[in-house]
């Protein structure tokens, strides 16, 4: 899902805090440090990191290539291994049959079955490549706003975690409450009313 797609889904964020140091250089260092690894870790089920929009499968942020005018454009990439359940079932059944034949027994204990299943999953996980998913984001540092180009909850959570780790800045999703508090310039009286309105509704 990206800025250049024909249709977009956008989750809006407010960025809290200021970077320590020059903006582009600090962001560049954060991106480089938390870029998605080029070599896949065979053992892990999923890996998350930053990548570049132009070359999502070979992250490159050199020359501040993520800077477009006053905006910064880069992407979150999540590589996830997804093992089809039917494949697990196939190898599990074959392994159980082999084990029974090898030991001459008719039944396996629950623990033995569990161990065979785990072995099958681990073995398949090493052989199956991870599927990459790339989600662009646009960050306007001056207005402290950020658009993330997906509405998927798991991806939103991955972004929020990686963002704070990389830049030491907090992201706040703009949902009705936060949009009212952070972007609607409420008076003190209005803020109080908003709080009591929510409390009143949650008690209903």
């Amino acid at each position: 899902m990206g800025l250049l797609s024909s249709r977009n889904s956008i989750t809006r964020y407010k960025v809290s805090g200021q970077l320590d140091g020059p903006v582009h250089e600090t962001v560049y260092q954060g991106l480089k440090q938390h870029a998605i690894p080029k070599i896949e870790d065979e053992g892990s089920e999923s890996i998350v990191g930053w990548t570049s929009v132009e070359t999502p499968y070979a992250p490159n942020f050199e020359g501040y290539s993520f800077v477009f005018g006053t905006y910064m454009l880069f992407a979150l990439r999540i590589d996830k291994k997804s093992i089809p359940p039917k494949l697990v079932q196939k190898y599990y059944t074959l392994n159980v049959s082999k084990h029974l034949a090898d030991t001459g027994r008719q039944y396996l204990s629950a623990n033995e079955k569990k161990a065979i299943k785990e072995n099958v999953i681990n073995s398949l996980s090493r052989r199956i490549p991870a599927v990459p998913n790339v989600y662009d984001l646009v960050w306007d540092y001056n207005s402290a706003s950020l658009w993330f180009f997906t509405n998927l909850k798991a991806m939103n959570e991955a972004l929020e975690t990686l963002f704070v780790k990389s830049f030491n800045l907090q992201l706040t999703r703009l949902i009705p409450y936060t949009a009212a508090v952070l972007t609607s310039e409420l008076s003190d009286r209005e803020r109080d009313l908003l709080q009591s309105l929510g409390k009143h509704r949650s008690e209903e």
Partner: protein, 175 residues
């Protein structure tokens, strides 16, 4: 600030009330929306709307879809106490035509279709297209932000209970 998960559930209703009010304004006085976009040409409900009625501890959902779908069912649902949970909008500002959906509980924008931008034929074209896309998205985001902000101030004013609620009920009942 409230914890985000608590705030999400506690204030879902605010987003749904916003979309309900927005539909009411679109139907009864869209010219009032020019204060948020001086170049506004038109705004209309598009091809999908979802309404939810959560009164009496049950959830009833009404979905209306189709390019020429009548929206009477939606007004009837509002009359019975439902709120708009999702709305697809067709929005024209200046020469630019947009389509997008807004979800009440999250204020997320989805299915955003922008006007055509120039092609990317060389690496040098990229920056221009990126900036053009951002400019266009900003139009939609700012319009939505402006509308939500106006709604929140109205919702937190005395006029909401003394006037607006009655106006929306009257409009919903006039089918």
């Amino acid at each position: 600030m409230l914890d985000i998960a608590i705030a999400y559930n506690r204030y879902k209703f605010l987003g749904n009330e916003f979309l309900t009010w927005l539909w009411f304004i679109i139907e009864t006085g869209p010219e009032n929306l020019r204060r948020h976009d001086a170049d506004l040409v038109s705004i209309a409900v598009g091809n999908r709307m979802v309404l939810e009625n959560t009164r009496n501890n049950t959830k009833e959902t009404v979905t209306i879809k189709g390019d020429n779908a009548g929206l009477e069912e939606g007004r009837l649902a509002i009359k019975k106490g439902a709120l708009v949970a999702e709305i697809h909008l067709s929005y024209k500002t200046g020469a630019n035509q947009f389509e997008f959906s807004l979800k009440g509980e999250s204020l997320n924008i989805s299915s955003l279709k922008l006007p055509e931008t120039g092609p990317i034929e060389t690496p040098e074209d990229l920056e221009g297209v990126v900036l053009e896309k951002i400019y266009l998205i900003e139009k939609v985001v700012e319009f939505a932000n402006g509308l939500f902000s106006r709604f929140v101030h109205l919702r937190l004013s005395d006029a909401w209970d003394s006037q607006t609620k009655a106006q929306i009920r009257k409009w919903a009942g006039s089918i």
